[in-house]
C-alpha cells in the first residue's frame, strides 16, 4: 500500500462503473493509481478476513459489509447505489420467453451460489414469486430443480447465459446492459421488492488518505453520474 496506489475491492457487478470512476479519480489525482480486485462480494469478504491488503471495499449487499464492519475490519459503510434484478436469456431463439418458461421441462437455469449477493437476491425473488398464480403451482421449487450450476459471481452467470450454454440466469440489470446484444432481458414483476443495495467502506487497516477521497468520489455527483450511466439506481 504505497502512497500512490489505492487498492479497491469491489463486487463483480461494479466492474465497468468503477473502472469509469477509477479513471476519473486518477485524472483528478495525478500520480495516483487505483487498482481493482473485482469478484463476488463473498470472495472479497473472505480475502479481507484473511488479511488481504485492501483500502476500500464495495459490496453488492449489506450482509457482507455488515459482517466486516461488525468484526472491526472496516469503518462504518454508506450505501451508494442500488440495482434491479432481472432474468437474462441468450440472444437468438431462447427457450425462455417469459418468467413462466423458467419452470418448463428441460430448461437450464444458472444462479449465483447462495453466498453470492446476486444468488441470495435471486433466491429471495423466487420465493416471493412463488405465490404468483400466473406462474403456475410450485414455481419456485420447479425453477430450483432446473438449476444446473451455482456460479461464484454474477458475471460468471452472465457468461454462461451469453454463451448460450444456459437458457436463463438471474443477474443485475447493469450486467444485462453490459452484455447488450448478446442477451435478452426479462423484467421481474413490479413490486417484488428485491433490489440490491451497494455499500462502500474504508478498511480499518488502510493507511491511505486516498481511501476516504475515493469513497467521497463514489458518493459525490460525478461518481453517481457514472453509476447512472451504467444503469445503477440511486
Amino acid at each position: 500500500m504505497s502512497r500512490g496506489v489505492l487498492v479497491v475491492f469491489a463486487a463483480a457487478s461494479l466492474t465497468e462503473a468503477f473502472q469509469d470512476i477509477g479513471a476519473a479519480f486518477e485524472r483528478a489525482h495525478p500520480g495516483v493509481k487505483v487498482e481493482f480486485n473485482f469478484a463476488g462480494s463473498q470472495v472479497l469478504r473472505a480475502q479481507i478476513e484473511q488479511g488481504a491488503p485492501a483500502d476500500v471495499f464495495a459490496s453488492a449487499d449489506l450482509l457482507h459489509a455488515d459482517a466486516l464492519a461488525a468484526s472491526g475490519r472496516t469503518r462504518p459503510h454508506r450505501a451508494f447505489a442500488r440495482n434491479a434484478l432481472v432474468v437474462v436469456t441468450p440472444g437468438g431463439s431462447p427457450r425462455v420467453r417469459s418468467l413462466r418458461d423458467l419452470a418448463a421441462p428441460g430448461v437450464k437455469v444458472v444462479l449465483a451460489a447462495a453466498t453470492v449477493p446476486a444468488g441470495r437476491y435471486a433466491r429471495k425473488a423466487l420465493e416471493r414469486m412463488d405465490g404468483d398464480a400466473s406462474l403456475g403451482a410450485g414455481f419456485a421449487e420447479r425453477v430450483r430443480a432446473a438449476v444446473v450450476s451455482e456460479e461464484t459471481s454474477v458475471r460468471a452467470v452472465l457468461a454462461k447465459v451469453a454463451l448460450g450454454e444456459a437458457d436463463a440466469g438471474f443477474v443485475y440489470a447493469t450486467d444485462a446492459a453490459a452484455a447488450r446484444g448478446r442477451v435478452a432481458v426479462i423484467a421481474l414483476p413490479e413490486g417484488l421488492g428485491v433490489v440490491a443495495t451497494y455499500p462502500i467502506a474504508v478498511l480499518t487497516r488502510s493507511t491511505s488518505p486516498l481511501a476516504a477521497a475515493f469513497m467521497e468520489e463514489v458518493l459525490g455527483a460525478e461518481g453517481q453520474a457514472a453509476l447512472r450511466r451504467r444503469g445503477f439506481l440511486p
Binding site: 437450464k108 453466498t115 450450476s149 461464484t152 450454454e165
Partner: protein, 264 residues
C-alpha cells in the same frame, strides 16, 4: 571431511530452501485442523457429496484414459510413422495448457452452441453442466499422464519377446496380453495412478465446462472453493482429504515404478 562429503553438504543446504517452501504450506494444512475436527467436517453434506462424486468421476475417467490411451501408447511405442512426434506433442498438450483454457475449448467443441452441439442435441444429448462433462474434462486433462507412462512401459518391453511368443503359436492379441502387458504393468499402474491423481485435482476445466452443482458436478476441488467462501473449516477438511488422496496416488505410482526398476 572428504571433498565429496563437503559438496553434498553444500547441495543439501542449497536444496533446503525449496524443500522447506514446499513442505511448510502442506504441513500447515495438515496441522490446521485436528483429526476429530476434520472428520466431523467431512461428514457435512457438501463434503460427503463431493467425495462420492469425485470418486465416481475419477474412476470412470481413469478407466477411459486406460482403455482409450493404451492402444495409442502401443501404436507409438511399436510403430514409427510420419508425424509420430507431432502426434505425441498434441497428446501432451493438455499437460501444459491452462485447464481453464481447456474448459473454454471443450465448451466451444461440445457446448450447446459449440461445433458438435447441434448434432449432439439432435441425439438428445446436452453435455455442459452434466456429470458427463466432469468426466470429459478429467479425461482431457489427465490422459497424457497415462499415455506417456504406458508408451514408456511398452517401449521397455523387448519386441523380440513378443515375436518369440508369436513363433510359439500365440496370436498377436494373446502375445500382447500374456507377454507385453505383464512386463509393462508397473508403468501402466504408475500411469493410471498419476492420471487418477490429475483427474482428482482438476478444477479449471470442470468449472468452465461442467459448472458447479452439488451432487452433479461439484467435485472436491470445486467444493473447496465453494466452502472457502462460507465455511473455512470445511474447506480445510476437504483440502486435507484431497491431499491424502493425492499422496496415496503418488505412493502407488512410486511403488509401481520401483517394481519396474527391479524387473528391469
Amino acid at each position: 571431511m572428504s571433498a565429496a562429503h563437503a559438496r553434498a553438504r553444500g547441495l543439501a543446504l542449497a536444496s533446503s530452501v525449496l524443500v522447506a517452501f514446499v513442505t511448510l504450506p502442506l504441513l500447515t494444512l495438515v496441522l490446521a485442523l485436528g483429526p476429530a475436527e476434520a472428520a466431523r467436517h467431512l461428514r457435512s453434506p457438501l463434503a460427503a457429496r463431493a467425495l462420492l462424486l469425485t470418486l465416481q468421476t475419477t474412476t470412470v475417467a481413469t478407466l477411459l484414459c486406460v482403455a482409450l490411451g493404451a492402444p495409442l501408447a502401443y501404436l507409438m511405442a511399436r510403430h514409427s510413422f510420419r508425424g509420430r512426434e507431432v502426434l505425441d506433442t498434441v497428446i501432451d498438450l493438455p499437460i501444459t495448457i491452462p485447464p481453464v483454457v481447456a474448459g473454454v475449448a471443450l465448451l466451444l467443441a461440445f457446448g450447446r452452441r459449440g461445433l458438435l452441439g447441434r448434432p449432439l442435441e439432435l441425439m438428445g444429448l446436452s453435455i455442459p453442466f452434466s456429470t458427463v462433462a466432469v468426466v470429459m474434462a478429467q479425461v482431457f486433462i489427465a490422459s497424457p499422464f497415462f499415455v506417456k507412462a504406458a508408451r514408456a512401459g511398452f517401449e521397455s518391453v523387448d519386441a523380440r519377446l513378443e515375436e518369440a511368443a508369436r513363433t510359439l503359436g500365440a496370436s498377436r492379441w494373446r502375445a500382447f496380453w500374456t507377454v507385453t502387458v505383464p512386463l509393462a504393468r508397473p508403468s501402466l499402474v504408475a500411469g493410471a495412478a498419476l492420471a487418477w491423481a490429475r483427474a482428482l485435482s482438476e478444477f479449471g476445466a470442470t468449472m468452465m465446462f461442467a459448472g458447479n452443482l452439488p451432487g452433479r458436478t461439484q467435485t472436491l476441488t470445486l467444493a473447496v472453493m465453494s466452502a472457502m467462501e462460507s465455511d473455512l473449516d470445511t474447506a480445510l477438511a476437504v483440502s486435507l482429504l484431497s491431499l491424502a488422496l493425492a499422496l496415496a496416488a503418488l505412493v502407488v505410482a512410486k511403488v509401481a515404478a520401483r517394481r519396474s526398476a527391479v524387473l528391469a
